[in-house]
């Protein structure tokens, strides 16, 4: 089990492979592997999406993905 933390200024749904699958600024559990990460709602953030490879994380050291 891997852990992802998507950081953004406000709470939004996190899109994983296009599906709302978690919340910003909260830990998200997922299987190891490659994913496309973005945010739901208005596309008023950058980058529009991120391609990530999640492996070797822990709840206290999750993979951090930031959107601004």
């Amino acid at each position: 089990m891997e852990f992802l933390l998507v950081v953004y200024g406000t709470e939004r749904d996190v899109l994983i492979d296009g599906v709302p699958a978690g919340l910003t600024n909260h830990l998200i559990t997922l299987a190891p592997g490659a994913y496309t990460i973005s945010l739901d709602g208005d596309k008023d953030f950058t980058p529009v999406e991120r391609e990530i490879l999640v492996t070797g994380t822990s709840p206290l050291k999750p993979m951090r993905v930031e959107f601004a």
């Binding site: 089990m1 852990f3 992802l4 933390l5 749904d13 994983i16 492979d17 296009g18 599906v19 709302p20 699958a21 978690g22 919340l23 909260h26 830990l27 998200i28 559990t29 997922l30 299987a31 190891p32 592997g33 490659a34 994913y35 496309t36 490879l53 492996t55 822990s58 709840p59 206290l60 999750p62």
Partner: protein
């Protein structure tokens, strides 16, 4: 040299035989399994997917999924006993004080083979299962009816067709006598949970084949038009006794795009072999030229307890279980795994002579099922422990950190509970042996059905995880409005 007078009767016989052959050939040529309906050119609004089936409760705070194993009528009766016990288990919802039963909270059922009869019947007909399911299925000699259906000369011409086989006869029998010719469109129209995943096995890949629209999208087919009986027949088509059910792999329409996870997982070989293999197998359906047909049989070949389908929904972040967890929709996620075991206790070791071919063949087909089932449950328990540990790590971090807000946190402190209901856990050895010796065919005496139903209730009464769940629900109720 034959005289003309003697030649005439032979000529008549020859012509008569020819007519019969042509008639049989004609009938045989007409016999074809029902073809699946291709996906329509426009994306349908309704599809048999979990997110489209409304919750039975006010929300998903208590999220309950059941799995029903294979094992003929033994499995069907045992899983029916669990449904009956959940119906008889009253709870009061903590949020609003509403009285209901634990059965009302069941959100999904994933099933295999014999368990698929119970899952499908309950999903279609709800509480009616407690009135008529025994007479309609559990107490019937379905195996005998299957035999006589195949022995009926009227069915022989159809059975001679290469495109129609015993499993198609079985599906017709189930449709007419159990499932009232209902289709997945009827399940969709019912608009209520539980959402069911009937599981088969793709003979080519050896992987699970789920009767959901997500799976049928990959083969370009509309699940809504499929009779429930055909899905149940495929899920329970035990090797050698029955033949696979065939589905056409239609070209997908323009609106369809394959899940991005399939492409991503193609590179996961060294990171997550399980995810890689799943994606690799599923991707074969996208190559329509190489895979024009899919042959599906007993789900037990890939996973005899039906748990793998739900585990993927837990570890895949886009899965409906993971989404309840990560989107803070559920505070408790419960898996009740109902396993009647694959076979009967072996008695070979009592004899000096080696087991015969039939015994070896049956053992070969079922041994891996039970071994794999145990590993599958442990895999789920490992995930449960990982998530529990993760929650504890976060709590400790918050207690020790100077600035607790610096610690990562989960959206909701959801707990996962695994309730393992297995005939093997019967405490009394004599009773355990008696129950495990009940056949896994589709014909049982009513007394055996009674024993299995009672065993399900007793096993839940003695199950520590189930009792812990009930205690937690009751303590939460103490603070309810």
């Amino acid at each position: 040299m034959l005289s003309p007078g003697r030649r005439e009767p032979r000529g008549v016989a020859f012509v008569a035989a020819g007519v019969i052959v042509i008639a049989i050939s004609g009938l045989t040529g007409c016999a074809h399994y029902p073809l699946t309906t291709p996906l329509p050119p426009q994306k349908p609004a309704a599809r048999y997917a979990f997110e489209q089936i409304p919750s039975t409760g006010a929300d998903d705070d208590l999220f309950v999924c059941l799995t029903f194993s294979g094992g003929g009528t033994r499995a069907a009766a045992f899983s029916y006993g669990v449904l009956q016990k959940l119906r008889d288990t009253s709870i009061v919802r903590a949020k609003d004080g509403r009285h209901e039963t634990l059965l009302d909270e069941v959100d999904c059922i994933s099933s295999v083979s014999g368990g698929s009869f119970t899952a499908a019947y309950y999903a279609l007909f709800g509480a009616r299962i407690f009135q008529d399911y025994r007479s309609i299925f559990l107490d019937r000699n379905v195996e005998g009816e299957l035999f006589w259906s195949a022995a009926n000369p009227l069915n022989w011409p159809r059975l001679l067709s290469p495109y129609f086989s015993r499993i198609d006869l079985a599906a017709e029998l189930y449709a007419n006598t159990i499932f009232q010719n209902k289709t997945y469109a009827d399940l969709l129209a019912g608009a209520h949970r539980p959402f069911i995943i009937l599981n088969g096995t793709d003979l080519a890949t050896g992987d699970g084949f789920e009767f959901t629209q997500d799976q049928f999208d990959l083969i370009g087919s509309d699940l809504a038009a499929l009779p429930i009986a055909r899905a149940v027949a495929a899920s329970s088509a035990f090797p050698f006794l029955l033949t696979p059910i065939t589905f056409s792999n239609h070209t997908t329409p323009g609106w369809y795009t394959a899940p991005p996870g399939l492409k991503h997982a193609a590179g996961d070989y060294y990171i997550d072999r399980r995810r890689y293999m799943w994606a690799s197998h599923q991707s074969t359906y996208l190559d329509k030229g190489a895979t024009p047909y899919v042959h599906v049989m007993d789900g037990g070949l890939a996973d005899n307890i039906g748990l793998r389908a739900l585990e993927r929904q837990l570890v895949d972040p886009t899965g409906f279980v993971a989404r309840r967890y990560n989107l803070a929709k559920a505070s408790k996620v419960i898996f009740i795994v109902v396993d009647s075991k694959a076979g009967e206790p072996a008695t070979y070791n009592k004899s000096e002579s080696a087991p015969g071919l039939a015994d070896v063949a049956f053992k070969t087909a079922t041994t891996s099922m039970d071994n794999f089932s145990a590993e599958t449950i442990e895999f789920l328990r490992d995930r449960q422990r990982e998530l529990d540990q993760a929650r504890q790590d976060v709590e400790v971090c918050k207690q020790l950190a100077r600035t607790p807000s610096d610690c990562p946190s989960f959206a909701a402190p959801a707990e996962i509970e695994v309730v393992d209901v297995n005939l093997e856990a019967i405490a009394d050895p004599a009773r355990r042996t008696q129950l495990l010796s009940i056949g896994t065919n589709f014909s049982l005496p009513s007394t055996d059905v009674d024993l299995l139903i009672a065993a399900a209730s007793d096993l839940l009464d003695q199950n520590p995880a189930f009792q812990k769940l009930l205690a937690a629900l009751r303590s939460a109720t103490a603070g309810a409005p």
